[in-house]
Amino acid sequence: MTTMTSQRRLRSLVLSRSENDPENMSGMYYFIIVGHYDNPIFEAEFNPPNKINEPKIDDHRHLNQFIAHAALDLVDEQAWTTSNMYLKVVDKFNEWFVSAFITAGRMRFLMLHDVKNEDGIKNFFTEMYDTYVKFAMNPFYEINTPIKSQAFEKKAQFFGRKYLTG
């Protein structure tokens, strides 16, 4: 069950988004890993290369978090119904789709995206899972704490370019 409702109407729910035309927003991705206590562990944004120079709309960054956070309910719900790690699109809010991936250790990977890109996101999730598992094996890293690693970020950006925006 998703919040699939007509896009036109739900647009009105946007918190404080200035009216952007939809084309301008296409191809944006927001990736977040959520820990066991619903705490964000890692965040990354991927913008298409042609928009990278555009000034970021900072006032809306919290909206991404809100949407991702709200989708957790549906992720948790769906986790019981499937044995797949990749849950595809679980939620939708305005133009944002939320895809999810649950690792064996119950870490939740969420991806906000405004274009459909099922395979790319799946690949990205798989690669990030791999990276995450390697990272988590570091004995100095405590599970569920924020990931502060240059290497991890670089990997994420690399896979983002490879599978999402590139």
């Binding site: 069950m1 919040t3 409702t5 109407r9 739900l10 647009r11 009105s12 729910l13 918190l15 404080s16 206590y37 619903d38 705490n39 964000p40 900072d58 960054r61 919290h62 991404n64 978090q65 809100f66 949407i67 956070h69 709200a70 989708a71 957790l72 309910d73 549906l74 719900e77 924020p146």
Partner: protein, 1500 residues
């Protein structure tokens, strides 16, 4: 979805209740106005029937109607305008608030890891719903809100009531026919007319009323007439009424509140008294009148009189629910609260007449009354006011009963029969038509499932169908509506279903949607009685049709309200949420907000609650509330959402929530809330950009300032500073420094003793501690006092802080606090000071009072400043992410206990960067800082001690020891030593001797004595000894040339160890009085190693009169000296070999000292460098040796240029007899002036170097090796003396140094070369003994060597030195035979033991091995058979045995015989030595120097 007061069926029933209209004549209105009510309002509280009534449907089947509610509308009232409607809705929502602190309404729900406090009810939503349903404009497509009946009301006092009735009826008819679209709308042409005769009991005439009533009955239908008697209490009585006025006011719920008389606070709870509340109130009134008679007693009876009456009448309209009776008392209190207005204003009236009653009565009322009576209003005016506000004051409870009876009569007698009748008519009409219809449509019409409602067709398709008002489709709808209104839901459903299909066929979308909606609601209302499932898809499509095809948002909203209620009731929360979300749109913020909130509630009420969806929708709702101006609701919604987001590290979201909460709280004047919300924005790691952070902090400061201003204004608990969140204080890194002056004025000439500063490294503490121990030991004659504790000046997190630091009155305490700016924006801290509390330790006062400086009043602060002088740091600017230490000083003026508790400061931020940039100059920028907004607050300083790790308990738990570095003990005044080094050089040449002066001052107020100093490098300085010290700035003491060359110095003065490490500084009278200054000369000598050297000085002193347990004080000084390489000396001593003088032979008691002097300095440009070194004197200090010059004229001096080497050879001579512990000084001057090397600076440094050398010598230090020896090794030192020289050469020099400015400077200095052994190279440059001679670690015990330890071979072969004395040239006529030359062999014992010597001329030393014991034992006869390899031969005594005492010398006379002329080496014999009694151990002595003899033949 939140729980509502009403259940879903109740709500739907109320939403769709029969409407009736009321039309009053003017005189009837007047009667009602006495009660401050209109007629419609008057009857409104009694519109719900408490009893069941019965109705028959068109098929004559009976139905029961439960608690039917009639809605009354006044015909004369005009419908509100669109703008008014919006305002009404807004007011309804904003008026309904949750009472804060009402615990009962808030329950805790745990979902997963979330513990949420939820408000179950959302009264604002219900209020909105009520209001919305009230104001919804009636539409043509349904008849639910159309008036079924009209009540005509005429007063009995009217002259011709019947005529008036007739005219009113006409008026109604006219309106219905001419303005069908005017509100109120009418259900159908033949509505029910009901005639009410209103009779005022007090004013009217009973009999006349009865008469008119009778005539009415005859004129109109009898069951449609009613005589209603009201106003049994006259206005006079009302004025005389006392506490009875506290009767509940059942009307207040139904009336719009007059805005101007709403006091802000007591008004609030009114909104909580919702439907049930009314009933409580009503119940109470009924309870009081529980014995109210069935017959109505007349007059203005008081309650007491009514009590005796009989039971309740059976058919009375019961408005109260039985179940709620238990809550009566509670409701009484609420009603009291509610009723405070009328009470408040009627009380003063009685106040004038009966004061004590008033006093007994409601206290608040009395209070209010006083206030009002003061406000000089005349009683009549008051009465007017009271009239304005109080409702139903003229109505007794019997009047109310009459009203109840009236409503019951109306419904049962008139309305229901009418409805039955009407339904029959409609049904008949339709059945006649239905037969026709049936043929058209299939017989499966009734089949529910197959006929799915045709979905909404294209939106652009217009509803072309326009029905006439009497069209059969609409008649069908009327029938259904009527059935629905009277709770015949099954019948209604079938009818709606039929109608729906008709409308669908006609594409009458509005009608279709309405029918769908109602069909669905009917099924719901049937509840479990129906076999059908609740068809929520009907509702879905109804809403969609309303929205898309009809664009009728109002009705879509209504359908949603009804539908969601039904869905909720069925537990279909998700669907309900979806429907709510569907109705949120861009243009209606209020509705969207309410619906979003309801959706959120739906999510949380699901079987598996969706907490995060709840949070998200709450935030969305909060946002929309904000947009629609509902600040309180917005704040509440955000606060709800915050519960979920709190502490989960969704930083950006949290920031948004906190920021909004802050803003809203501020707007609502909840400054405290706002402050704490903004505070959250500033705490923790922020992900916001700098500009945003800047906005946050400005906002925070602004709000906080307002709050503080407000607090200061209203509360008297000023003085306690609020705690600020920023900047971050590193509490662990707090350093406390005692006794140091923050302002060290370093003049050009004087360098004050550095003491300890914050940059002091704790690792050096042990070093200082050992120095201090050394001093204390020396001060206490080598015994360490039991109570000794090393003095610490700087307390940090690495020091032991178990004990409170002791400080002294008048000495500053400097606390270093490190602050860090967590933000990217610049913070400005100003007026920073320490907060402290102080417990005076003055004896005699009964109880010392705790003093603190945390007060804001100036007077108190001044007082506090007298006790502890507190410095204030004006301003500290912290850039983004900057760390800065702040030094704050306290100077205690009284002994006691001082605790540093916190840091007070003004927190501000820089004003716009732009302005600072524009102004450019520093001044204005600073002004900008100061002018910007700031708040004063504090932060606590509490230091946690180190974690304990001793007991097992400590190890398993987390226990922390105390850390008392901020709890100081202030003791009585002590002397304070200040030391100034005058002209302390920052750079010296290696070995340079420099004289400076130190100034010792006692800046305290009590005398000190026993001044001592020690240093980490004792060779660095000397204070000199002896009386006649050279006058500053002369370095060396000169000596007149005529004095003796050699002088012996008692070395005992330098012998004690303490003398070398601890120096007593002589003081005049042994005491330094306060303020006294003593200057002492001090000589420094540059270290032999070039580079930068740190030298620690530790001064020790004691107060003369000891008051506290602190017995001594210390002063540290760390000097940094750079040394530049100058001279390097290498020296070797060789033993004499050649004969110096012919007659004496070789001087066996002398030696040759060859020195190589090298000027190491380099010529450097623009740097001080040595141009030339001049050796002025070489002195020798040795217990046994003296030095002599080999040349005669040395007076012109020896100069060594840069990078030049000079060879210098001197002769060493053994002194005749010296005591072992004495040093003999001999001097070889190369200058006109001779320096007395025995005198102070020179010999001091020499002694230092000797001691220093001894300390450094690794062989002297304890090594772990000797432990493994079974016995101490035999002492061979006496034997070793044979090679030992033990001589120190002191090279005194002058250096010509070119300074930076090109000027020449002459510096003097000295170098020492210690020569221990013969033939080894000694240097002035000390070798650093590396530790690699430590034996490798072995894990296996190796075998002890069993061999006897023996002195080294090197020593034993050189125990004896010998030389030959003979003529160098001998003339002999060999033709006469062989030549015999007498040779004297001089033997000198170099060792300090007696030795036995065997001189054997038959053996040549070079042919022999070291041990030839057997050969020495050969018989004499063999001598001749010795192979001859030289052409001379020893003759005569060939073997001599003799003993030599220590250092003794002897001659042995030998003869050598030569056969041929030539040059011979006479050194061809063997000398064996034994140092023990064992004669077998003879060791051959090495002596390789040849002794040449030349034999010339003479032909004579």
């Amino acid at each position: 979805m939140a729980q509502c007061k009403q259940s879903a069926p109740e709500f739907i029933q109320n939403a769709f209740s029969p409407h009736i209209a009321v039309l009053c004549s003017a005189d009837a209105e007047v009667l009602c106005k006495k009660n401050n009510l209109t007629f419609a309002q008057l009857i409104q509280p009694f519109c719900r029937l408490g009893t069941e009534v019965h109705i028959r449907d068109p098929n004559n089947a009976p139905h029961t109607v439960h608690s039917l509610r009639i809605k009354v509308c006044d015909m004369s009232s005009t419908p509100p305008q669109q703008a008014d409607v919006r305002k009404m809705l807004n007011d309804a929502v904003s008026g309904a608030q949750l009472q804060t602190g009402e615990a009962g309404r808030c329950n805790v729900k745990s979902v997963g890891s979330y513990d949420l406090q939820l408000h179950e009810s959302t009264p604002w939503f219900e209020a909105y719903r009520e209001c919305f349903l009230d104001v919804i404009t009636p539409s043509d497509h349904e008849y639910l809100s159309h008036c079924l009946a009209c009540a005509f009301v005429v007063s009995s006092s009217n002259t011709d009531p019947i005529a008036i009735f007739n005219s009113l009826t006409g008026q109604q008819l006219q309106q219905q026919q001419q303005f069908p679209n005017k509100v109120p709308r009418w259900f159908c042409p033949g509505i029910l007319n009901y005639y009410v005769l209103l009779h005022d009991v007090v004013e009217g005439e009973q009999a006349r009323a009865e008469a008119i009533y009778q005539s009415m009955k005859s004129t109109f239908k009898p069951h449609c007439c009613h005589l209603l008697q009201i106003n049994s209490r006259s206005l006079q009585t009302v004025e005389n009424m006392k506490s009875e006025t506290s009767l509940p006011d059942p009307w207040s719920q139904f009336l719009p509140q007059p805005q101007e008389i709403q006091p802000p606070n007591p008004h609030k709870p009114r909104y909580f008294i919702t439907w049930e509340g009314v009933e409580y109130d009503y119940l109470q009134s009924q309870d009081e009148d529980s014995l109210f008679p069935s017959h109505l007693s007349e007059g203005d009876l008081t309650h007491g009189q009514n009590l005796d009456s009989s039971s309740i009448m059976e058919g009375s309209i019961e408005t109260g629910l039985e179940a709620t009776e238990t809550k009566v008392s509670e409701s009484t209190s609420t009603s009291d609260l509610m009723m405070d207005h009328p009470l408040a204003f009627t009380a003063p009236v009685s106040l004038h007449e009966d004061a004590d009653v008033c006093r007994e009565g409601d206290g608040t009322a009395a209070a209010n009354g006083y206030q009002d009576s003061k406000s000089s209003l005349s009683p009549s005016e008051l009465r007017e006011k009271a009239k304005l506000r109080a409702h139903g004051i003229c109505l007794t409870s019997s009047d109310m009963d009459r009203l109840k009876i009236f409503m019951h009569e109306f419904v049962v007698r008139a309305l229901i029969p009418w409805a039955e009748h009407q339904m029959r008519i409609f049904n008949d009409q339709l059945t006649s038509r239905k037969g026709l219809h049936r043929s058209f449509f299939s017989a499966t019409k009734k089949w529910f499932g197959s006929n799915k409602p045709a979905g909404p067709v294209q939106a652009n398709q217009n509803t072309s169908v326009v029905y006439t008002s009497e069209a059969p489709e609409l008649q069908l709808r009327r029938l259904a509506d009527l059935a629905f209104l009277f709770q015949m839901y099954d019948f209604a459903y079938h009818t709606y279903h039929t109608a729906k299909r008709d409308f669908n066929n006609d594409h009458a979308w509005l009608h279709f949607a309405g029918a769908l909606e109602m069909a669905s609601v009917s099924i719901f209302m049937l509840g479990s009685a129906s076999q059908r499932q609740y068809p929520h898809h009907y509702m879905e499509s109804a809403i969609t049709t309303y929205l898309t095809s009809c664009r009728n948002i109002q009705y879509a909203t209504r359908a949603t309200l009804v539908s969601t209620e039904a869905l909720k009731c069925r537990g279909m929360f998700h669907e309900a949420a979806m429907q709510f979300l569907k109705m949120t749109s861009e243009d209606t913020d209020l509705v969207s907000a309410l619906f979003l909130e309801q959706a959120a509630h739906c999510y949380i009420n699901m079987k598996s609650p969706m907490v995060r969806k709840y949070a998200f929708h709450m935030i969305l709702a909060g946002h929309r509330f904000n947009k629609s101006g509902q600040r309180k609701h917005s704040l509440r919604a955000y606060s709800q959402a915050l519960q979920i987001f709190k502490g989960k590290q969704w930083k950006l979201s949290e920031d948004h929530i906190h920021f909004t909460i802050g803003r809203q709280s501020f707007n609502l004047k909840q400054l405290e809330n706002a402050t704490s919300a903004f505070k959250h924005l500033l705490m923790g790691e922020s992900k916001q950009p700098a500009a945003q952070q800047g906005a946050y902090i400005r906002e925070y400061l602004f709000v906080y300032k307002q709050q503080l201003a407000l607090d200061a204004g209203e509360s008297c608990s000023y003085g306690r500073l609020p705690e600020l969140p920023m900047p971050n204080l590193d509490v662990g890194a707090i350093k406390v420094l005692l006794g140091a002056h923050s302002s060290r004025q370093e003049t050009v000439r004087k360098t004050p003793a550095s003491g300890i500063w914050f940059d002091h490294d704790e690792e050096h503490n042990s070093k200082w501690q050992s120095l201090e121990e050394r001093l204390v030991l020396s001060a206490n004659n080598g015994v360490m006092p039991v109570a000794f504790r090393p003095t610490l000046r700087c307390f940090t997190n690495k020091t032991e802080n178990k004990f409170s630091p002791a400080t002294f009155v008048g000495e500053p305490i400097i606390v270093e606090v490190e602050v860090e700016n967590p933000l990217l924006v610049t913070l400005v801290l100003s007026d920073i000071m320490l907060l402290w509390s102080f417990l005076p330790g003055i004896a005699g006062t009964d109880k010392p009072q705790l003093i603190s400086n945390e007060v804001s009043t100036g007077v108190k602060n001044n007082l506090a400043d007298e006790i502890i002088q507190t410095t204030v740091v004006k301003e500290v600017v912290l850039e983004g992410h900057q760390r800065k230490p702040i030094h704050l000083t306290l100077v205690p003026r009284q002994p006691g206990e001082l605790r540093v508790v916190g840091l007070a400061y003004n927190l501000g931020t820089s004003s716009q960067n732009a302005s600072a940039g524009l102004s450019g100059s520093n001044n204005t920028a600073k002004g900008g800082y100061m002018g910007s907004i700031y708040v004063r607050g504090k932060q606590r300083l509490e230091v946690q001690g180190p974690r304990l790790n001793i007991t097992s308990e400590d190890k398993t738990q987390k226990n922390y020891g105390p850390d008392r570095r901020l709890d100081l003990v202030v003791l009585e005044e002590m002397p304070i030593l200040e030391v100034n080094f005058c002209d302390f050089p920052d750079s010296l040449l290696c070995g340079e001797v420099h004289c400076i002066e130190i100034e010792i001052t006692n800046s305290g107020r009590s005398p000190l004595h026993r001044l001592k100093v020690t240093s980490s490098d004792p060779t660095f300085f000397t204070f000199g000894s002896g009386r006649d010290l050279p006058k500053y700035p002369y370095v060396y003491q000169m000596k007149s040339v005529d004095r003796l060359d050699t002088s012996a110095v008692e070395s005992s003065i330098c012998d004690t160890n303490s003398r070398n490490t601890v120096v007593n500084i002589p003081l005049p009278n042994a005491v330094l009085k306060p303020g006294e200054v003593v200057s002492v000369p001090l000589w420094l000598r540059g270290n032999d190693i070039g580079g930068v050297h740190e030298v620690d000085f530790l001064f020790y002193y004691e107060p003369v009169n000891i008051q506290s347990k602190v017995r001594h004080r210390i002063l540290q000084h760390k000097a940094v000296v750079k040394t530049v390489e100058s001279l390097s000396v290498r020296a070797t001593v060789t033993k004499p070999s050649t004969c110096v003088t012919r007659n004496q032979g070789q001087e066996l008691n002398s030696c040759i000292i060859s020195c190589e002097l090298e000027n190491l300095s380099q010529v450097q440009v623009q740097c001080p460098h040595i141009q030339e070194l001049q050796i002025t004197q070489v002195s020798c200090a040795s217990p046994r040796w003296m030095v002599e010059s080999l040349s005669i004229s040395d007076q012109e001096g020896l100069r060594v240029g840069s990078r030049e080497t000079l060879q210098l050879t001197l002769k060493g001579k053994k002194a005749d007899s010296t005591a072992a512990e004495e040093f003999l000084f001999t001097e070889v001057p190369f200058d006109i002036q001779q320096i007395s090397s025995v005198k102070t600076p020179c010999c001091d440094f020499f002694f230092h170097s000797v001691v220093h050398r001894k300390c450094k010598d690794p062989s002297k230090s304890d090594t772990p090796v000797p432990r493994r020896h079974h016995r101490p090794p035999p002492d061979f030192s006496r034997l070793n003396r044979a090679l030992e020289i033990n001589l120190t050469l002191i090279f005194l020099w002058k250096a010509f140094v070119a300074q930076e400015n090109g000027q020449m400077k002459i510096l003097v200095g000295q170098h020492h070369v210690h020569i221990d052994k013969v033939n080894t190279v000694a240097t002035s440059y000390p070798f650093i003994m590396s530790n690699n001679n430590v034996p490798p670690l072995k894990f296996m015990r190796d075998l002890e060597p069993q061999t006897k330890s023996q002195p080294s071979l090197e020593v034993t072969t050189k125990l004896i030195s010998f030389s030959f004395v003979h003529d160098q040239t001998v003339q002999h006529n060999f033709s006469k035979g062989i030549c015999v030359v007498p040779v004297t062999l001089k033997l000198q014992n170099q060792s300090e033991t007696a030795v036995d010597i065997l001189v054997d001329t038959s053996k040549s030393s070079d042919r022999l091995g070291s041990t030839h014991a057997e050969s020495t034992m050969l018989p004499m006869s063999y001598h001749t058979s010795q192979p001859m390899n030289s052409s001379f031969r020893w003759v005569g005594q060939t073997l001599a045995r003799l003993s030599l005492g220590p250092g003794a010398g002897q001659h042995v006379t030998l003869r050598a015989a030569f056969c041929h002329p030539g040059i011979y080496n006479l050194n061809n014999l063997a000398v064996f030595v034994t140092y023990s009694d064992d004669m077998s151990q003879m060791i051959s002595q090495k002596h390789s120097t040849p002794s040449i003899i030349t034999l010339n033949t003479t032909s004579l």
